[in-house]
Symmetry: C2
Subunit: 336 residues, 2 copies
């Protein structure tokens, strides 16, 4: 048995049992891949795949178990390389992050600026998508970190570190009736207006819709989008009242928009950063987590290296209070 045979095996599986496609992906010749598979099957004394003529057509029961273990092996091979690289070239490597628009647009810029200044040689890859798309990238082992809100059920193969809380903000054009409200805004007030908010992808059941329903209200959602910038654009057009994540409030918006704090109106959300249980975290990766979730102590970061279950993580952060993230830092002008 050779590591290369296992690598080829996984490539075949990951390319729909098409040896030619696997060979292309591996930048090698098709007969070579074919031969190594044959050799592996001969050594193990069994067929890993069922055949239909010459083509591979399915995976045998034992084959499935073997493939699973082969994945584990290749993962550990990567981990060995990681440990070694971390040792002799702390500063070099790559970091792939998958996240949603809100994080990528409003939260990560500061984090990434700081990270880049510290690790100029680490190449960064930011992948953006819905929670489901992020989960797919996780499953394909294409990313190092996933950052999202809620949707924990989609990410059971990751360890999730809770990073911060956030509330919603109501975005309206300047001079909108809601800005003249003397008292605290209520859901009833909101239900009076057409609403513009996120496509309900995160959190499964929309916590937003439920908040209205709990008060017997049915909101008039006239438009949904996946990102706050689009929502704001339509709010500017007067299409309706925007409901966005508090981080999505931009200081620049204040020229023509007013953000109203919606703290308490909707359940508070928690954003987490997650990484695969079975992957070695390099130094710069740990530092990234700490930059993203600054409340995490150096001690906690070091302990994370060895933890392998979500229960361990939960225990580690049990007594930690998460920060609450707002949007525009210039508080005075927001109030004005």
């Amino acid at each position: 048995m050779k590591l290369q045979q296992l690598k080829y095996l996984l490539a075949i599986v990951d390319n729909g049992l098409n040896i030619t496609a696997a060979a292309d992906r591996l930048y090698t010749s098709q007969p070579g891949v074919s031969k190594q598979l044959k050799l592996l099957e001969e050594e193990l004394g069994m067929q890993l795949f069922t055949r239909k003529g010459k083509s591979l057509h399915g995976i045998t029961d034992a084959g499935a178990q073997i493939i699973e273990r082969a994945r584990l092996i290749m993962q550990e091979v990567d981990n060995i390389r990681s440990v070694a690289s971390d040792y002799y070239q702390e500063e070099q490597g790559s970091l792939a992050i998958a996240t949603t628009h809100t994080q990528a647009r409003y939260v990560l810029p500061d984090v990434i600026r700081e990270f880049r200044s510290r690790y100029a040689k680490v190449s960064l890859n930011l992948h953006q998508g819905t929670s489901e798309q992020i989960a797919d990238m996780v499953a394909a082992n294409e990313i190092d970190f996933a950052i999202a809100t809620g949707s924990r059920h989609l990410f059971s193969s990751l360890l999730l570190v809770p990073s911060y809380h956030w509330d919603r903000k109501i975005i309206v054009p300047k001079g909108h009736p809601l800005t003249r409200l003397e008292r605290k805004l209520t859901l009833h007030d909101l239900a009076e207006f057409p609403l513009v908010t996120y496509v309900f992808s995160f959190g499964g059941q929309s916590s937003l819709k439920r908040a209205f329903a709990d008060q017997g209200l049915e909101p008039d959602v006239v438009f949904t989008a996946r990102d706050a910038d689009v929502i704001k654009t339509y709010v500017r057009m007067g299409l309706g009242v925007g409901i966005v994540a508090s981080m999505a409030e931009d200081c620049d918006d204040q020229k023509d928009l007013t953000a109203i704090d919606a703290e308490g109106l909707f359940p508070r959300s928690t954003t987490w950063i997650g990484f695969r249980k079975d992957v070695v975290l390099r130094r710069y990766m740990l530092d990234f987590v700490q930059l993203f979730a600054p409340h995490v102590t150096a001690d906690q970061i070091d302990k994370m290296r060895s933890l392998r279950t979500q229960a361990d993580i939960d225990k580690l952060f049990r007594d930690t209070t998460l920060p609450l993230r707002g949007g525009c830092k210039d508080k005075a002008s927001v109030e004005a």
Copy 2:
């Protein structure tokens, strides 16, 4: 990186960082091993070992992590072979069992006879030793199953399946005063006589000594041995009263010895069979467990394949009542 390099690496570590010894163990040349280590270190870009002159003298920090992962990889390689072998040659393989004398001499013969008749082609290796020696064999990954009583703290890397309970039996020469006792035997009665029993290797603190101490008694242990046959021999010589595991009562003993049930005098013991968490169990191994612990159902056996923590095992057997093992099957004659 090649699997062979990892294999060589582990051989070096397991032979006290002596490359020559590792090469001998691997049935290959010393320069070959040396070279592959060099290549591995070059590929990883770091030293796995510290050197003193040319000799290896220690393991670097990162090296230790890498060695650990290499072990995992080689284990999974073995597991892949196991899965394959189980698939195409159910009947062939080997089975190494480490256990104490009592099991090997009195309990396993029946189990192994049955096992051999079912799997004639599986080569059996029975290793005998104290709990500590068994633990060493487990650590060296030399055995498939460990069977012992108590001593759970020594076997945290194994999953332990509780198999049966047993009490002690008191062994005396025929016509001994204790055989003429009209009432139930007590510890006070026993404390009157010199005692012959096991070396206190299993269970750490001797539960036997404690039982006496709890009643303010100090037993006069005149002789200890590691196995019941030796104890019986000395009981026959009139050295003292023997205290042995109930399984150690042999029907043949009745010619010149009398066994007295000591149920209730000492805490009941539980014998378990354990296997490494990280090893694939082959069909014949599962069958062996079932032969050894017949109260385990086929369903439970199948589930064991996927369980990986002791808590899972405990849960699986929570509602199972263990059998109580005695010695000589011919009850009537024992009473006589």
